[in-house]
Amino acid sequence: MKIDRAHLDKIAHLARLEFDEKDAEKMMQDMTAIVDWVEKLKEVNTDGVEPLTTMSYETNMFREDEVKDHLSHERALLNAPKKDNDYFRVPKVIE
Protein backbone atom coordinates (compact mmCIF):
# COMPACT_ATOMS: atom_id res chain seq x y z
CA MET A 1 0.00 0.00 0.00
CA LYS A 2 1.35 3.41 -0.98
CA ILE A 3 1.38 5.96 1.83
CA ASP A 4 0.91 9.33 0.08
CA ARG A 5 1.20 12.85 1.46
CA ALA A 6 -2.48 13.17 2.39
CA HIS A 7 -2.30 9.86 4.20
CA LEU A 8 0.90 10.80 6.01
CA ASP A 9 -0.58 14.15 7.09
CA LYS A 10 -3.66 12.43 8.48
CA ILE A 11 -1.65 9.93 10.53
CA ALA A 12 0.80 12.63 11.61
CA HIS A 13 -2.07 14.76 12.89
CA LEU A 14 -3.49 11.82 14.87
CA ALA A 15 -0.03 11.31 16.39
CA ARG A 16 0.47 15.07 16.95
CA LEU A 17 3.59 15.18 14.78
CA GLU A 18 4.50 17.35 11.80
CA PHE A 19 7.00 17.00 8.96
CA ASP A 20 8.64 19.42 6.55
CA GLU A 21 8.83 18.64 2.83
CA LYS A 22 12.14 16.76 2.98
CA ASP A 23 11.32 14.63 6.03
CA ALA A 24 7.83 13.88 4.71
CA GLU A 25 9.27 12.41 1.50
CA LYS A 26 11.58 10.02 3.37
CA MET A 27 8.86 9.12 5.89
CA MET A 28 6.39 8.25 3.08
CA GLN A 29 8.99 5.99 1.45
CA ASP A 30 9.87 4.23 4.73
CA MET A 31 6.24 3.84 5.78
CA THR A 32 5.25 2.41 2.39
CA ALA A 33 8.08 -0.14 2.55
CA ILE A 34 7.30 -1.14 6.14
CA VAL A 35 3.55 -1.43 5.58
CA ASP A 36 4.15 -3.58 2.46
CA TRP A 37 6.43 -5.78 4.52
CA VAL A 38 4.03 -6.30 7.44
CA GLU A 39 1.25 -7.15 4.98
CA LYS A 40 2.94 -10.52 4.76
CA LEU A 41 0.75 -11.50 7.71
CA LYS A 42 -2.20 -11.79 5.31
CA GLU A 43 -0.70 -15.13 4.23
CA VAL A 44 -1.40 -16.65 7.65
CA ASN A 45 -4.79 -18.31 8.06
CA THR A 46 -6.27 -16.94 11.29
CA ASP A 47 -9.87 -18.15 10.87
CA GLY A 48 -11.34 -18.91 14.26
CA VAL A 49 -8.29 -17.66 16.17
CA GLU A 50 -8.93 -15.32 19.11
CA PRO A 51 -6.61 -12.29 19.30
CA LEU A 52 -4.00 -12.57 22.06
CA THR A 53 -4.60 -9.40 24.07
CA THR A 54 -2.61 -9.84 27.27
CA MET A 55 0.65 -11.55 28.14
CA SER A 56 0.20 -11.46 31.89
CA TYR A 57 -0.93 -14.55 33.78
CA GLU A 58 -2.39 -12.39 36.50
CA THR A 59 -5.86 -10.98 36.06
CA ASN A 60 -8.13 -8.82 38.18
CA MET A 61 -5.75 -7.90 40.97
CA PHE A 62 -7.68 -6.42 43.85
CA ARG A 63 -6.39 -4.52 46.83
CA GLU A 64 -7.89 -2.65 49.77
CA ASP A 65 -8.80 0.95 49.01
CA GLU A 66 -6.44 2.52 51.52
CA VAL A 67 -4.77 5.92 51.43
CA LYS A 68 -1.01 5.48 51.12
CA ASP A 69 1.98 7.69 50.37
CA HIS A 70 1.87 9.21 46.92
CA LEU A 71 3.82 11.72 44.88
CA SER A 72 3.63 15.11 46.60
CA HIS A 73 2.22 18.15 44.80
CA GLU A 74 5.66 19.78 44.75
CA ARG A 75 7.38 16.74 43.30
CA ALA A 76 4.67 16.26 40.66
CA LEU A 77 5.24 19.83 39.45
CA LEU A 78 9.03 19.68 39.60
CA ASN A 79 9.60 18.59 35.99
CA ALA A 80 6.99 20.85 34.41
CA PRO A 81 8.26 23.09 31.59
CA LYS A 82 5.81 25.80 32.71
CA LYS A 83 3.93 25.99 35.99
CA ASP A 84 2.66 28.30 38.72
CA ASN A 85 2.37 27.47 42.39
CA ASP A 86 -0.38 24.93 41.95
CA TYR A 87 -0.80 24.02 38.30
CA PHE A 88 0.80 23.07 35.00
CA ARG A 89 0.50 26.01 32.60
CA VAL A 90 -0.45 25.63 28.92
CA PRO A 91 -1.34 28.15 26.18
CA LYS A 92 -4.77 29.71 26.52
CA VAL A 93 -7.49 27.29 25.35
CA ILE A 94 -10.65 29.42 25.63
CA GLU A 95 -10.77 32.97 24.30
Binding site: I11, A15, R16, T54, S56
Partner: protein, 476 residues
Protein backbone atom coordinates in the same frame (compact mmCIF):
# COMPACT_ATOMS: atom_id res chain seq x y z
CA UNK B 1 43.02 -3.78 40.17
CA UNK B 2 42.18 -6.86 38.12
CA UNK B 3 39.02 -7.24 36.14
CA UNK B 4 36.73 -9.67 38.00
CA UNK B 5 35.04 -12.49 36.10
CA UNK B 6 32.31 -12.86 38.69
CA UNK B 7 30.78 -11.15 41.71
CA UNK B 8 31.65 -14.22 43.81
CA UNK B 9 35.37 -13.44 43.32
CA UNK B 10 34.69 -9.85 44.38
CA UNK B 11 32.85 -11.04 47.49
CA UNK B 12 35.74 -13.35 48.40
CA UNK B 13 38.28 -10.53 48.15
CA UNK B 14 36.01 -8.19 50.11
CA UNK B 15 35.68 -10.77 52.86
CA UNK B 16 39.42 -11.35 52.95
CA UNK B 17 39.89 -7.60 53.10
CA UNK B 18 42.27 -7.48 50.12
CA UNK B 19 39.98 -4.93 48.44
CA UNK B 20 37.22 -2.55 49.55
CA UNK B 21 34.05 -1.32 47.87
CA UNK B 22 35.73 2.07 47.70
CA UNK B 23 38.65 0.55 45.70
CA UNK B 24 36.19 -1.16 43.40
CA UNK B 25 34.26 2.02 42.64
CA UNK B 26 37.51 3.87 41.96
CA UNK B 27 38.57 1.08 39.61
CA UNK B 28 35.36 1.32 37.60
CA UNK B 29 35.45 5.13 37.60
CA UNK B 30 38.96 5.08 36.19
CA UNK B 31 37.86 2.66 33.41
CA UNK B 32 34.87 4.89 32.63
CA UNK B 33 37.21 7.85 32.40
CA UNK B 34 39.82 6.05 30.31
CA UNK B 35 37.20 4.81 27.84
CA UNK B 36 35.04 7.93 27.69
CA UNK B 37 35.31 7.83 23.86
CA UNK B 38 33.00 4.77 23.84
CA UNK B 39 30.18 7.14 24.90
CA UNK B 40 28.72 4.63 27.33
CA UNK B 41 27.65 6.77 30.31
CA UNK B 42 25.32 9.76 30.08
CA UNK B 43 25.79 10.52 33.79
CA UNK B 44 28.38 9.18 36.21
CA UNK B 45 27.48 9.40 39.91
CA UNK B 46 31.13 9.41 41.04
CA UNK B 47 30.97 11.19 44.41
CA UNK B 48 27.75 9.50 45.41
CA UNK B 49 29.03 6.03 44.49
CA UNK B 50 32.26 6.64 46.41
CA UNK B 51 30.50 7.78 49.56
CA UNK B 52 28.01 4.92 49.36
CA UNK B 53 30.97 2.54 48.93
CA UNK B 54 32.39 3.81 52.23
CA UNK B 55 29.07 3.17 53.97
CA UNK B 56 28.91 -0.35 52.58
CA UNK B 57 32.53 -1.05 53.52
CA UNK B 58 31.51 -0.17 57.07
CA UNK B 59 28.51 -2.50 56.86
CA UNK B 60 30.75 -5.33 55.64
CA UNK B 61 33.08 -4.78 58.63
CA UNK B 62 30.17 -4.86 61.06
CA UNK B 63 28.54 -7.87 59.39
CA UNK B 64 25.36 -6.02 58.46
CA UNK B 65 25.86 -5.83 54.70
CA UNK B 66 23.16 -6.93 52.23
CA UNK B 67 23.30 -9.67 49.65
CA UNK B 68 24.69 -7.43 46.90
CA UNK B 69 27.26 -5.52 48.98
CA UNK B 70 30.13 -4.71 46.64
CA UNK B 71 28.13 -5.09 43.45
CA UNK B 72 28.54 -2.02 41.26
CA UNK B 73 25.69 -1.58 38.79
CA UNK B 74 24.98 0.66 35.79
CA UNK B 75 21.43 1.50 34.70
CA UNK B 76 20.21 1.83 31.14
CA UNK B 77 18.68 5.29 30.71
CA UNK B 78 15.15 3.86 30.90
CA UNK B 79 15.11 3.01 34.62
CA UNK B 80 13.98 5.49 37.22
CA UNK B 81 16.48 6.26 40.00
CA UNK B 82 15.03 8.82 42.39
CA UNK B 83 16.48 12.34 42.16
CA UNK B 84 18.67 11.36 39.20
CA UNK B 85 18.24 12.25 35.52
CA UNK B 86 16.21 9.93 33.26
CA UNK B 87 15.55 10.59 29.59
CA UNK B 88 15.55 7.39 27.50
CA UNK B 89 18.37 8.98 25.46
CA UNK B 90 15.82 11.41 24.04
CA UNK B 91 15.79 15.20 23.74
CA UNK B 92 12.12 15.15 24.68
CA UNK B 93 13.07 14.35 28.28
CA UNK B 94 15.86 16.92 28.58
CA UNK B 95 16.23 17.88 32.21
CA UNK B 96 13.85 15.24 33.56
CA UNK B 97 14.59 14.07 37.11
CA UNK B 98 13.10 10.80 38.43
CA UNK B 99 10.71 11.33 41.33
CA UNK B 100 10.80 7.72 42.52
CA UNK B 101 12.81 4.51 42.18
CA UNK B 102 11.90 1.76 39.77
CA UNK B 103 11.08 -1.38 41.79
CA UNK B 104 14.12 -3.20 40.35
CA UNK B 105 16.35 -0.25 41.33
CA UNK B 106 14.85 -0.06 44.82
CA UNK B 107 15.55 -3.76 45.37
CA UNK B 108 19.16 -3.37 44.22
CA UNK B 109 19.64 -0.48 46.65
CA UNK B 110 17.97 -2.37 49.49
CA UNK B 111 20.46 -5.22 48.93
CA UNK B 112 23.38 -2.72 49.14
CA UNK B 113 24.32 -2.57 45.47
CA UNK B 114 26.07 0.64 44.35
CA UNK B 115 24.73 2.50 41.31
CA UNK B 116 27.50 4.12 39.30
CA UNK B 117 25.64 5.85 36.48
CA UNK B 118 23.15 6.10 33.67
CA UNK B 119 23.91 4.39 30.37
CA UNK B 120 23.40 5.48 26.77
CA UNK B 121 20.89 3.52 24.64
CA UNK B 122 18.75 3.84 21.54
CA UNK B 123 16.09 6.50 22.03
CA UNK B 124 13.13 4.98 23.93
CA UNK B 125 14.85 1.60 23.49
CA UNK B 126 14.00 1.62 19.78
CA UNK B 127 16.92 0.32 17.78
CA UNK B 128 19.34 -2.50 17.19
CA UNK B 129 22.64 -0.62 17.04
CA UNK B 130 22.60 2.19 19.62
CA UNK B 131 22.90 4.71 16.77
CA UNK B 132 19.49 6.27 17.51
CA UNK B 133 20.54 8.11 20.67
CA UNK B 134 20.21 11.88 21.06
CA UNK B 135 23.68 11.62 22.64
CA UNK B 136 25.35 9.94 19.69
CA UNK B 137 26.31 6.31 19.11
CA UNK B 138 27.99 3.98 21.60
CA UNK B 139 31.11 2.28 20.20
CA UNK B 140 31.99 -1.39 20.49
CA UNK B 141 35.08 -1.78 22.69
CA UNK B 142 36.60 -4.54 20.52
CA UNK B 143 36.39 -2.50 17.31
CA UNK B 144 35.49 1.18 17.60
CA UNK B 145 34.19 1.29 14.01
CA UNK B 146 31.47 -1.18 14.93
CA UNK B 147 28.18 -0.93 16.80
CA UNK B 148 27.70 -2.55 20.21
CA UNK B 149 24.15 -3.62 19.28
CA UNK B 150 21.03 -2.12 20.76
CA UNK B 151 19.02 -0.87 22.21
CA UNK B 152 20.90 -1.50 25.49
CA UNK B 153 24.28 -0.92 23.78
CA UNK B 154 25.78 1.22 26.55
CA UNK B 155 24.82 -1.35 29.18
CA UNK B 156 26.52 -4.17 27.25
CA UNK B 157 29.71 -2.20 26.60
CA UNK B 158 29.88 -1.12 30.26
CA UNK B 159 30.13 -4.77 31.33
CA UNK B 160 32.44 -5.67 28.45
CA UNK B 161 34.85 -2.80 29.20
CA UNK B 162 34.71 -3.35 32.98
CA UNK B 163 32.99 -0.08 33.85
CA UNK B 164 30.66 -1.91 36.26
CA UNK B 165 30.09 -5.54 37.20
CA UNK B 166 26.41 -5.69 36.20
CA UNK B 167 24.09 -3.56 34.05
CA UNK B 168 20.31 -3.51 34.01
CA UNK B 169 18.83 -3.02 30.55
CA UNK B 170 15.48 -3.61 28.91
CA UNK B 171 14.52 -6.16 26.26
CA UNK B 172 11.42 -5.53 24.15
CA UNK B 173 12.54 -7.28 20.95
CA UNK B 174 16.06 -8.42 21.80
CA UNK B 175 17.56 -5.26 23.28
CA UNK B 176 19.48 -7.11 26.00
CA UNK B 177 20.40 -10.35 24.21
CA UNK B 178 21.51 -8.81 20.90
CA UNK B 179 24.03 -6.32 22.40
CA UNK B 180 25.18 -9.03 24.84
CA UNK B 181 26.01 -11.17 21.78
CA UNK B 182 27.80 -8.30 19.98
CA UNK B 183 29.85 -7.55 23.10
CA UNK B 184 30.63 -11.09 24.29
CA UNK B 185 28.82 -10.93 27.64
CA UNK B 186 25.87 -12.79 29.20
CA UNK B 187 22.43 -11.19 28.75
CA UNK B 188 19.17 -12.51 30.20
CA UNK B 189 15.62 -11.60 29.28
CA UNK B 190 13.42 -13.31 31.86
CA UNK B 191 9.82 -14.46 31.31
CA UNK B 192 7.42 -11.60 30.62
CA UNK B 193 6.14 -10.28 33.99
CA UNK B 194 8.88 -11.97 36.05
CA UNK B 195 10.33 -8.54 37.01
CA UNK B 196 8.13 -5.56 37.86
CA UNK B 197 8.06 -2.89 35.14
CA UNK B 198 7.30 -0.11 37.63
CA UNK B 199 9.74 2.70 36.89
CA UNK B 200 10.75 1.35 33.48
CA UNK B 201 10.11 3.85 30.67
CA UNK B 202 7.38 2.13 28.63
CA UNK B 203 8.00 1.25 24.98
CA UNK B 204 5.69 -1.70 24.22
CA UNK B 205 4.06 -2.84 27.43
CA UNK B 206 3.11 -6.40 26.41
CA UNK B 207 6.74 -7.05 25.37
CA UNK B 208 8.88 -4.95 27.74
CA UNK B 209 11.12 -6.84 30.18
CA UNK B 210 13.93 -5.64 32.38
CA UNK B 211 17.04 -7.71 31.60
CA UNK B 212 20.41 -8.33 33.20
CA UNK B 213 23.96 -8.11 31.80
CA UNK B 214 27.06 -9.56 33.39
CA UNK B 215 30.17 -11.56 32.62
CA UNK B 216 28.86 -14.63 34.45
CA UNK B 217 25.66 -16.64 34.65
CA UNK B 218 26.10 -16.71 38.45
CA UNK B 219 25.85 -12.90 38.68
CA UNK B 220 22.76 -12.86 36.51
CA UNK B 221 21.12 -15.52 38.71
CA UNK B 222 21.87 -13.58 41.88
CA UNK B 223 20.60 -10.25 40.57
CA UNK B 224 17.46 -11.89 39.15
CA UNK B 225 16.54 -13.40 42.50
CA UNK B 226 16.90 -9.98 44.15
CA UNK B 227 14.86 -7.94 41.66
CA UNK B 228 12.18 -10.43 40.46
CA UNK B 229 8.78 -11.08 41.99
CA UNK B 230 5.49 -9.61 43.12
CA UNK B 231 5.17 -5.84 43.39
CA UNK B 232 2.12 -3.83 44.38
CA UNK B 233 3.03 -1.14 41.83
CA UNK B 234 2.74 -3.41 38.77
CA UNK B 235 -0.58 -5.22 38.40
CA UNK B 236 0.75 -7.40 35.56
CA UNK B 237 3.76 -8.75 37.46
CA UNK B 238 3.76 -12.48 38.18
CA UNK B 239 2.91 -13.65 41.69
CA UNK B 240 4.81 -16.92 41.19
CA UNK B 241 7.40 -17.34 43.95
CA UNK B 242 10.98 -16.42 43.00
CA UNK B 243 13.34 -19.38 43.18
CA UNK B 244 16.75 -19.18 44.90
CA UNK B 245 18.43 -19.13 41.47
CA UNK B 246 21.98 -18.42 42.62
CA UNK B 247 22.12 -21.19 45.20
CA UNK B 248 20.29 -23.75 43.05
CA UNK B 249 22.70 -23.01 40.21
CA UNK B 250 25.46 -24.79 42.12
CA UNK B 251 23.43 -27.87 43.00
CA UNK B 252 23.55 -28.64 39.28
CA UNK B 253 21.12 -30.57 37.21
CA UNK B 254 22.75 -33.61 35.63
CA UNK B 255 19.71 -35.03 33.91
CA UNK B 256 20.17 -35.33 30.12
CA UNK B 257 18.23 -32.73 28.18
CA UNK B 258 16.09 -32.71 25.05
CA UNK B 259 17.12 -29.82 22.85
CA UNK B 260 15.56 -28.47 19.67
CA UNK B 261 17.30 -26.29 17.15
CA UNK B 262 15.41 -24.55 14.40
CA UNK B 263 16.00 -25.44 10.79
CA UNK B 264 16.80 -21.81 9.91
CA UNK B 265 20.12 -22.42 11.56
CA UNK B 266 21.21 -23.88 8.25
CA UNK B 267 20.00 -20.78 6.36
CA UNK B 268 22.36 -19.01 3.96
CA UNK B 269 21.48 -15.64 5.50
CA UNK B 270 23.36 -16.63 8.64
CA UNK B 271 27.06 -15.72 8.86
CA UNK B 272 28.88 -19.08 8.39
CA UNK B 273 31.01 -18.72 11.53
CA UNK B 274 27.90 -18.28 13.68
CA UNK B 275 26.45 -21.48 12.23
CA UNK B 276 29.74 -23.36 12.76
CA UNK B 277 30.10 -22.24 16.35
CA UNK B 278 26.54 -23.14 17.25
CA UNK B 279 26.86 -26.57 15.60
CA UNK B 280 30.04 -27.12 17.58
CA UNK B 281 27.99 -26.67 20.77
CA UNK B 282 25.21 -28.87 19.40
CA UNK B 283 27.70 -31.66 18.66
CA UNK B 284 29.18 -31.41 22.15
CA UNK B 285 25.69 -31.60 23.63
CA UNK B 286 25.09 -34.78 21.63
CA UNK B 287 28.41 -36.29 22.70
CA UNK B 288 27.41 -35.68 26.30
CA UNK B 289 24.33 -37.81 25.79
CA UNK B 290 21.70 -35.09 25.37
CA UNK B 291 19.22 -35.52 22.57
CA UNK B 292 19.31 -32.76 19.97
CA UNK B 293 16.87 -32.54 17.08
CA UNK B 294 16.15 -30.19 14.24
CA UNK B 295 12.63 -28.75 14.27
CA UNK B 296 10.72 -26.75 11.74
CA UNK B 297 9.12 -23.45 12.61
CA UNK B 298 7.13 -22.50 9.53
CA UNK B 299 6.00 -19.20 11.11
CA UNK B 300 9.55 -17.78 11.25
CA UNK B 301 8.85 -15.22 8.49
CA UNK B 302 5.83 -13.84 10.35
CA UNK B 303 7.42 -13.16 13.71
CA UNK B 304 9.06 -9.84 12.83
CA UNK B 305 6.01 -8.29 11.10
CA UNK B 306 3.85 -9.35 14.07
CA UNK B 307 6.31 -7.75 16.43
CA UNK B 308 6.56 -4.48 14.50
CA UNK B 309 2.78 -4.06 14.22
CA UNK B 310 2.07 -4.72 17.90
CA UNK B 311 5.14 -3.03 19.39
CA UNK B 312 4.66 0.17 17.36
CA UNK B 313 0.94 0.23 18.20
CA UNK B 314 1.75 0.03 21.90
CA UNK B 315 4.54 2.58 21.49
CA UNK B 316 2.25 5.12 19.80
CA UNK B 317 -0.06 4.86 22.77
CA UNK B 318 2.66 4.86 25.44
CA UNK B 319 4.52 7.81 23.94
CA UNK B 320 1.41 9.98 23.73
CA UNK B 321 2.22 11.07 27.28
CA UNK B 322 5.11 13.18 25.96
CA UNK B 323 3.07 16.26 25.18
CA UNK B 324 5.13 19.12 26.59
CA UNK B 325 2.65 19.72 29.43
CA UNK B 326 3.79 17.90 32.57
CA UNK B 327 7.45 17.22 31.87
CA UNK B 328 10.10 17.26 29.21
CA UNK B 329 10.66 19.47 26.22
CA UNK B 330 8.20 22.22 25.29
CA UNK B 331 8.76 23.99 21.97
CA UNK B 332 9.66 27.69 22.05
CA UNK B 333 7.56 28.09 18.90
CA UNK B 334 4.31 27.23 20.64
CA UNK B 335 1.32 29.45 19.66
CA UNK B 336 -1.64 27.39 20.79
CA UNK B 337 -2.31 24.02 22.42
CA UNK B 338 -2.18 22.00 19.21
CA UNK B 339 1.03 23.59 17.98
CA UNK B 340 2.51 23.01 21.43
CA UNK B 341 1.88 19.28 21.12
CA UNK B 342 3.01 19.00 17.51
CA UNK B 343 6.11 21.15 17.72
CA UNK B 344 7.24 19.82 21.08
CA UNK B 345 6.93 16.22 19.89
CA UNK B 346 8.44 16.84 16.44
CA UNK B 347 11.43 18.67 17.94
CA UNK B 348 11.85 16.27 20.83
CA UNK B 349 11.57 12.82 19.26
CA UNK B 350 14.23 11.45 16.92
CA UNK B 351 13.34 10.11 13.48
CA UNK B 352 13.17 6.40 14.35
CA UNK B 353 10.85 7.10 17.28
CA UNK B 354 8.62 9.25 15.01
CA UNK B 355 8.61 6.48 12.39
CA UNK B 356 7.43 3.92 14.95
CA UNK B 357 4.79 6.26 16.42
CA UNK B 358 3.45 6.85 12.89
CA UNK B 359 3.39 3.15 12.05
CA UNK B 360 1.66 2.40 15.36
CA UNK B 361 -0.87 5.18 14.82
CA UNK B 362 -1.51 3.83 11.31
CA UNK B 363 -2.19 0.24 12.43
CA UNK B 364 -4.50 1.48 15.20
CA UNK B 365 -6.42 3.93 13.02
CA UNK B 366 -10.10 3.11 12.43
CA UNK B 367 -9.84 1.89 8.82
CA UNK B 368 -6.84 -0.38 9.41
CA UNK B 369 -7.29 -1.65 12.96
CA UNK B 370 -8.70 -5.08 12.05
CA UNK B 371 -6.52 -5.67 9.02
CA UNK B 372 -3.28 -4.98 10.86
CA UNK B 373 -3.58 -4.77 14.63
CA UNK B 374 -6.17 -7.49 15.30
CA UNK B 375 -4.60 -9.68 12.63
CA UNK B 376 -1.20 -9.41 14.35
CA UNK B 377 -2.76 -10.27 17.73
CA UNK B 378 -4.18 -13.43 16.17
CA UNK B 379 -0.88 -14.39 14.58
CA UNK B 380 0.77 -13.73 17.93
CA UNK B 381 -1.46 -16.36 19.51
CA UNK B 382 -0.57 -18.89 16.80
CA UNK B 383 3.17 -18.16 17.19
CA UNK B 384 2.83 -18.58 20.94
CA UNK B 385 0.96 -21.88 20.67
CA UNK B 386 3.38 -23.33 18.10
CA UNK B 387 6.41 -22.33 20.15
CA UNK B 388 4.88 -23.78 23.32
CA UNK B 389 4.22 -27.02 21.41
CA UNK B 390 7.95 -27.35 20.73
CA UNK B 391 8.66 -26.77 24.43
CA UNK B 392 6.28 -29.57 25.39
CA UNK B 393 8.58 -32.01 23.62
CA UNK B 394 11.90 -30.32 24.35
CA UNK B 395 13.51 -28.64 27.35
CA UNK B 396 15.14 -25.88 25.32
CA UNK B 397 15.27 -24.27 21.92
CA UNK B 398 18.75 -23.30 20.79
CA UNK B 399 19.30 -20.71 18.06
CA UNK B 400 21.52 -17.81 17.08
CA UNK B 401 20.75 -14.45 18.61
CA UNK B 402 21.94 -12.41 15.61
CA UNK B 403 22.34 -13.25 11.89
CA UNK B 404 25.79 -11.56 11.86
CA UNK B 405 28.40 -10.39 14.35
CA UNK B 406 28.63 -6.65 15.20
CA UNK B 407 28.17 -4.62 12.03
CA UNK B 408 29.84 -1.33 11.06
CA UNK B 409 28.54 1.99 12.35
CA UNK B 410 26.33 3.48 9.61
CA UNK B 411 25.97 0.18 7.74
CA UNK B 412 22.18 -0.05 8.09
CA UNK B 413 21.16 3.47 9.11
CA UNK B 414 19.64 4.46 5.73
CA UNK B 415 17.26 1.55 5.58
CA UNK B 416 15.02 0.96 8.60
CA UNK B 417 13.76 -2.40 7.26
CA UNK B 418 17.30 -3.71 6.96
CA UNK B 419 17.89 -2.71 10.57
CA UNK B 420 14.67 -4.42 11.70
CA UNK B 421 15.89 -7.70 10.19
CA UNK B 422 18.79 -7.70 12.66
CA UNK B 423 16.13 -8.73 15.24
CA UNK B 424 15.09 -11.83 13.29
CA UNK B 425 16.14 -14.34 15.94
CA UNK B 426 15.62 -12.27 19.06
CA UNK B 427 11.97 -11.20 18.83
CA UNK B 428 10.39 -14.65 19.08
CA UNK B 429 10.99 -14.82 22.84
CA UNK B 430 9.32 -11.40 23.26
CA UNK B 431 6.38 -12.17 21.00
CA UNK B 432 5.77 -15.36 23.01
CA UNK B 433 6.83 -14.01 26.43
CA UNK B 434 9.41 -16.74 27.10
CA UNK B 435 12.69 -16.44 29.04
CA UNK B 436 15.79 -16.38 26.82
CA UNK B 437 19.49 -15.85 27.31
CA UNK B 438 22.47 -14.95 25.17
CA UNK B 439 25.76 -16.56 26.18
CA UNK B 440 29.19 -16.06 24.56
CA UNK B 441 29.96 -18.75 21.99
CA UNK B 442 33.31 -18.10 20.37
CA UNK B 443 34.43 -15.41 17.92
CA UNK B 444 34.48 -14.87 14.16
CA UNK B 445 37.63 -14.42 12.07
CA UNK B 446 37.77 -10.70 12.96
CA UNK B 447 37.71 -11.53 16.65
CA UNK B 448 34.11 -10.34 17.05
CA UNK B 449 32.03 -12.19 19.67
CA UNK B 450 29.28 -14.63 18.72
CA UNK B 451 26.26 -15.22 20.96
CA UNK B 452 24.26 -18.39 21.43
CA UNK B 453 20.62 -18.06 22.39
CA UNK B 454 18.77 -20.54 24.58
CA UNK B 455 15.00 -20.27 25.08
CA UNK B 456 13.13 -22.11 27.84
CA UNK B 457 9.47 -22.43 28.83
CA UNK B 458 7.63 -19.83 30.93
CA UNK B 459 9.17 -19.21 34.37
CA UNK B 460 11.90 -21.81 33.83
CA UNK B 461 14.69 -19.32 34.52
CA UNK B 462 16.40 -21.70 36.90
CA UNK B 463 16.58 -24.49 34.33
CA UNK B 464 17.73 -21.97 31.72
CA UNK B 465 20.50 -20.60 33.93
CA UNK B 466 21.69 -24.09 34.93
CA UNK B 467 21.83 -25.15 31.30
CA UNK B 468 23.68 -21.95 30.31
CA UNK B 469 26.28 -22.64 32.96
CA UNK B 470 26.61 -26.21 31.67
CA UNK B 471 27.10 -25.02 28.05
CA UNK B 472 29.73 -22.48 29.08
CA UNK B 473 31.51 -25.34 30.88
CA UNK B 474 31.38 -27.47 27.72
CA UNK B 475 32.85 -24.65 25.67
CA UNK B 476 35.87 -24.22 27.89
Amino acid sequence: MKSYASFREIQNDLQRGTISCHDLVRHYLSNIDEKAHLNVFLSVYADEALSRAKEIDHKIKTGTAGKLAGLVVGLKDVLAYKDHPLQASSKILNGFISQYNATAVQRLLDADAIIIGRQNCDEFAMGSSNENSAFGPVLNDIDNTRVPGGSSGGSAVAVMADMCQVSLGSDTGGSVRQPAAFCGVVGLKPTYSRISRFGLVAYASSFDCIGIFSKSVEDVALVLEVIAGADEFDSTVSLQPVQPYSEALHTGNTQKKRIAYIRELTSEALQPEIRENIFRVINKLKQEGNSVEEVEFPLMDYILPTYYILATAEASSNLSRFDGVRYGHRSERTTDLESMYKKSRSEGFGKEVQRRILLGTFVLSASYYDAYYTKAQKVRRIIREKTKEILKKFDFIVMPITPTTAFKIGEHTDNPLEMYLADLFSVQANVVGLPAISIPCGKDKNGLPIGLQVIADDFEELKLLQFSKYIIGLNQ
